[in-house]
């Protein structure tokens, strides 16, 4: 039973539609942004167990992507290099807003010729504070407090709606994340082994691996 979007993709015969089985969760905290993505990556009968789907664009920005593996790697690296080029050329880093809109623009530019089948979450901290941007493979862009990609969003968004508050600390953010993963553990068809979590603050990016079987709430 596919959702309408998938059936449209199959109909138009897109090369490999965004399969939605992967999960990406983004939560905006008080002075940081937390993004967690599952570490499995599969296509046909082959599976990778330790994929890092979150690219660090610079010290204070991260870009998480789910979707077709090749597009994900190529697109994220392309964005990362362009963000870097801007900073070197102009002696000034891009703001999160600038980076997000640039990314969306690139998606939109490619959409009618060779689209990138990736759904993205961009999180960053700059002088305007922490921001989380949600982008999908059709080049939409939204600035949100929390966001989820994939079928798991059907479960997790309710949890986040109920328990999210403005100004959460990093520990509270992790607790909220564990609540979400617990929901998936209980009800989601796909069994995720682990999540890679990256938290970006003014000081930089911290990386943690969260094993799903250790999540007890």
């Amino acid at each position: 039973q596919m959702c309408i979007r998938d059936s449209i993709n199959a109909e138009y015969g897109t090369k490999d539609f965004v399969n939605n089985m992967e999960t990406a969760i983004g939560i905006k905290l008080k002075d940081a942004v937390l993004i967690a993505v599952n570490t499995d990556c599969f296509r046909s009968i082959v599976k990778l167990n330790d994929a890092d789907k979150i690219k660090e664009l610079d010290r204070t920005k991260i870009l998480a992507a789910v979707g077709e593996h090749g597009d994900r790697e190529a697109f994220c690296e392309y964005i990362q290099k362009n963000v870097s080029l801007y900073a070197i050329r102009n002696n000034l880093a891009l703001s999160t807003q600038g980076a997000a809109n640039f990314t969306r623009h690139e998606l939109a530019h490619a959409l009618r010729s060779g689209p990138y089948n990736v759904n993205l979450l961009l999180g960053g901290v700059d002088e305007d504070g922490p921001s989380l941007y949600f982008m999908d493979y059709l080049a939409s862009l939204n600035k949100l407090n929390f966001a989820v990609h994939g079928y798991s969003s059907n479960f997790i968004l309710s949890t986040l709606d109920k328990y999210y508050k403005e100004g959460l600390s990093v520990e509270e953010g992790f607790h909220l994340l564990r609540l979400c993963i617990n929901e998936l553990k209980k009800r989601f068809l796909v069994r995720n082994v682990a999540f890679l979590v990256k938290v970006v603050t003014v000081a930089g990016v911290s990386v943690t691996t969260l094993n799903v079987e250790d999540v007890q709430v």
């Binding site: 102009n90 891009l94 703001s95 807003q97 600038g98 809109n101 623009h105």
Partner: protein
Amino acid sequence: VSTQSTGYKVGFWATCCNSLHILSPFTVMARRYDSRTTIFSPEGRLHQVEYAMEAISHAGAAIGILTNEGIVLAAEKMITSKLLEQGTSSEKMYKLDNHVACAVAGITADANILINYARLATQRFLFSYQFPMPVEQLVQQVCDLKQGYTQYGGQRPFGVSFLYAGWDKHDGFQLYQSDPSGNYGGWKATAIGKNNSNAQSILKQDFKEDMTLKDAQQLAVKVLSKVMESTTLSSEKLEFGVLTRQNNKTVFRSLTKKELDELIKSTTIENTDAK
């Protein structure tokens, strides 16, 4: 002199010097190397670029002064005939985006091309990044275009110098000057066009770091009056533009005739008082 030259001819100087039987500032050898933009002279100069700057030195003066409250751009309008319909369009000042404006000295037709290019650049940037283009980046883009015409294509350089006045979040108020070579610099106060060296030296003397916008406007009037050909200064011959921040927005405004008249009056009064 090669007849296939597409650039500026040394005609005027050559004629003068020939008739007066003196050496021109450009050596005779220069003539052979000045018709192509894309080659150096034996002395290591790009003559077409220099001739372009010479053309600009015949154009109406433009001055820019930077203060903490904003930037003043002042220009002399070259009114060739009373029959000219002045209207609302400007010949010296142009808005490039909501937060950047420029003053022009040189060949108006060339300037129009570059201004259109600059405006496209600002909007392209805004379209992609969704924040206003930093002023220095815009200046660099225009200058890179100008530089291209000094190195390849076989086309003459643009005969225009610009004064860019703008505000951005990172560097605040900024004033830049660019010339046909594609070089640019950031300035506190500068002048381009006719008698710009005179104007520059007056600015150097009288510019103060913490001037108010009002002071800067009066200084601009003073400098222009000393540098313009006509003895009497009137608002018809001037164009004044002021770039300021109001309510968290950058505003570029041309002064009205009335404001200009008042400004000229107040400046001359102060000068006579000082005497």
